[in-house]
């Protein structure tokens, strides 16, 4: 997962997500430094480490949401670069990055039905810039409901769904926005073990199908999607990450 110099030369149209973090932290305190990640399309990289080691901050740096992570008065800042399919993201606002996010809470909008939550994510125009009709967008929502095994439940109040159903809607919503990379921030940690075991293969299958790079943050060894692609972050007090 560390970039070889050869990789670095070949950053191009479809070579996935390259993250070079020289330093990530507040003015006084570095949370993560010297971290290099490369995730090819269709692969899932798992980022592990104890709480407080900056796992979620790494995701926020990739998604461009550092402002919403720093709860304290010291904002976190990134020195480094984030490249997605050859495009430098570090200076783009989140909504222009094409990076999807899924949190441990599904964060379904409570004032929208399940279908409206999904429709909210469907782009008004497709990747080639043609605007899609309402019927086309609705069709995509119905298809997503079907994939989430929630056919016929589109009109429901999201708060009436079970935890597993909510998690599936959250993932489908993120995918409907057609992200070019997806970040999963402890997506299973609020679910019980049995549900987690059911959901994991479903999630991995769906994200691999999209052929996009995926970063999964977890502290549970069982969540590891691909044992070949695991990065362990150490607690911030220690220097530097270790690679497996």
């Amino acid at each position: 997962m560390t970039d070889t110099p050869k990789d670095a030369v070949h950053h191009g149209m479809n070579d996935g997500l390259h993250v070079h973090i020289e330093r990530l932290g507040s003015a006084l305190h570095a949370l993560v430094s010297g971290l290099h990640l490369h995730v090819p399309p269709g692969e899932i990289l798992t980022l592990m480490g104890p709480s407080g080691c900056g796992k979620s901050s790494v995701l926020a740096a990739i998604a461009g949401t550092l402002a919403s992570v720093s709860e304290g008065l010291q904002p976190l800042q990134l020195q480094g670069s984030v490249q997605l399919n050859g495009r430098e993201l570090a200076h783009l606002p989140t909504h222009q990055r094409g990076v999807g996010l899924v949190f441990q809470d599904a964060l379904l909008f409570p004032h929208m039905t399940v279908a409206e939550n999904l429709l909210f994510a469907v782009p008004v125009s497709d990747t080639r810039g043609n605007s899609s009709t309402n019927a086309q967008r609705q069709a995509r929502v119905q298809q997503a409901l079907q994939e989430a095994e929630l056919t016929g439940m589109g009109e429901r109040d999201p708060s009436t769904l079970s935890g597993g159903q909510r998690a599936r809607v959250a993932l489908m919503r993120a995918l409907l926005a057609e992200p070019q990379a997806l970040l999963l921030d402890e997506p299973f940690s609020k679910l019980d073990a049995a549900l987690r075991a059911q959901l994991r293969p479903w999630v991995f299958a769906h994200v691999r199908e999209r052929r996009i790079p995926v970063v999964l943050v977890t502290h549970d060894e069982q969540d590891v999607a691909d044992p070949q692609r695991v990065v362990h972050l150490r607690a911030a007090t220690e220097k530097g990450p270790a690679h497996v």
């Binding site: 989140t94 429901r156 926005a177």
Partner: protein
Amino acid sequence: MPTVKVLGPLLLALIAAVPIGAALWAVGAQMLDAAAWQALWADPQTWRAWGMTLWTGLASTALAWITVAHVLASGFIRQQLGRWLSHLPALLATPHAAMAIGLVLWLSPSGWALRLVSPGLTGFDAPPPWFTTQDPWGLGLILALWLKEVPFLLWVAATQMQREDLRRRWQAEYALAQTLGRTPAQAFAQIIWPQLAPRLRWPLLAVLAYGLTVVDMALIIGPASPPTLAVLAWQWLSDADLLTQSQGVAAAGWLTGTVLVSGVLMVVVLKALAASRPFASRGLLLQTAEDRAAVFHRGRLSLPPNVVWTLILGTYAAVWFALTVGSVSGVWPFPQVWPELWTLGAWQQVASSAHTVWTTLGLGVASASVCLLWSVAWLELAPRRWQQALQPWFLLPLVLPSVLWVVGLYSLALHTRLEGQWLGLSLAHAVMVLPYVLLALVPAYQAVDPRQAALVASLGHGRWVYLWRVKWPLLKRAIASAWAVGFAVSVAQYLPTLYVGAGRFATVTTEAVTLAAGAQRSLMSAYAALQMLLPILAFALAAWLGRPRRFEKIAPMKATP
């Protein structure tokens, strides 16, 4: 880009802070008048009025604080707080002046309380020469203040306790404390109350300041000779003589000092009480009763209602009823319980001076809307640090006496040639309304999950989509009710309307307070009822606008994972 990010909030801060600062500066300049202070000290009324001010203000605040602690504890332990507090908007919407007038209708020597027992029990055929309203001990004023301030404090507490994040955490901690062997009342007193009380400190300061400085209510139900210092200051300010006027300014300054010193003392006392563990572990004086109630609750027996809360609700209902009946009463000789003659004359008179109602509505809508727009813009744009640093400044109109503000705002209006103008008056209202709107909005804004913005952006939507389709729709209840609160505060303004409006604007409040000094019971009641009705309509509108979405009812199906 960074300059825009700083300029916007800077501009907003200036818009709100400059009028406040300029008004304070103007009044401060007028206070540098040695002759006025000498006249104030030399006046024999000053010290007795000041004593009356301290007594009514401190007693009503202490009573309100104890009552609020009791009602919150009782409601929380019985898990009925939500239900109880659903009555709050109606209580909040009842303006101070209307409450005072309603109480007078009950308590005065010719009031309902005595009519109900006369001549049967008392043998009175004529109203006795009693001081049951405007009593020289200030008890009527204390009662009226207590009745008005308890709902206000409860409402502020509710904005905290109904925040999703706090609610969940406190429920869990409360349950945890009980597993550690605390009774429900102890758990509340030791875990919830110490976290809640500091959040109520600012509102409590406002209550104290209000109690020490209220004018309209004290004119109606407060003692007359001597009146409270605020009323005295107001009388001096409205005097034609210039020296008397500056004596009024000095009195306003003295009152401000009183508010500041007692505010500091109050915070010190509260902190000392919070730090003394024996007090906390005894659990708010109601331990045994509430613990028994909690046991009842577990046994699914119906609970006896909370006495204090029932009493407050009952008094409000009685006041509304008295205002309604009073406004349609004609001839009504003393011991009779009901009027001899019913008439809509008073309401016809109100209708014939419809411009009074329009002025009230216009001022309320304008000032509430301006303050809401400003507050939303401020909370969206200003960095959290700025908000925290400047919040006390914006809340100043809440804690400094209105006799002080009217002097400052009036001279500000004079400088800008806005005195007696609609624009000047509505801006003066806005200054008084702003802290309430801001206080109503801040908790809802603080409860917004920052991840939600990140999530919406990750779906490819910009800031405006987030605001219009997610954040504001989710906050619409808080936004609508903040507007209604602002409207209600504007409707209730008495001093600024008279003083900054230079007497050229009549609102339902100025009419009601003026009439309270006279003998036209029905017209006074009608204006007081209207003064109450307008805010209630605003709250009803806000409740309708802020109603949560109703989803299609679907038979709950067994959730599959």
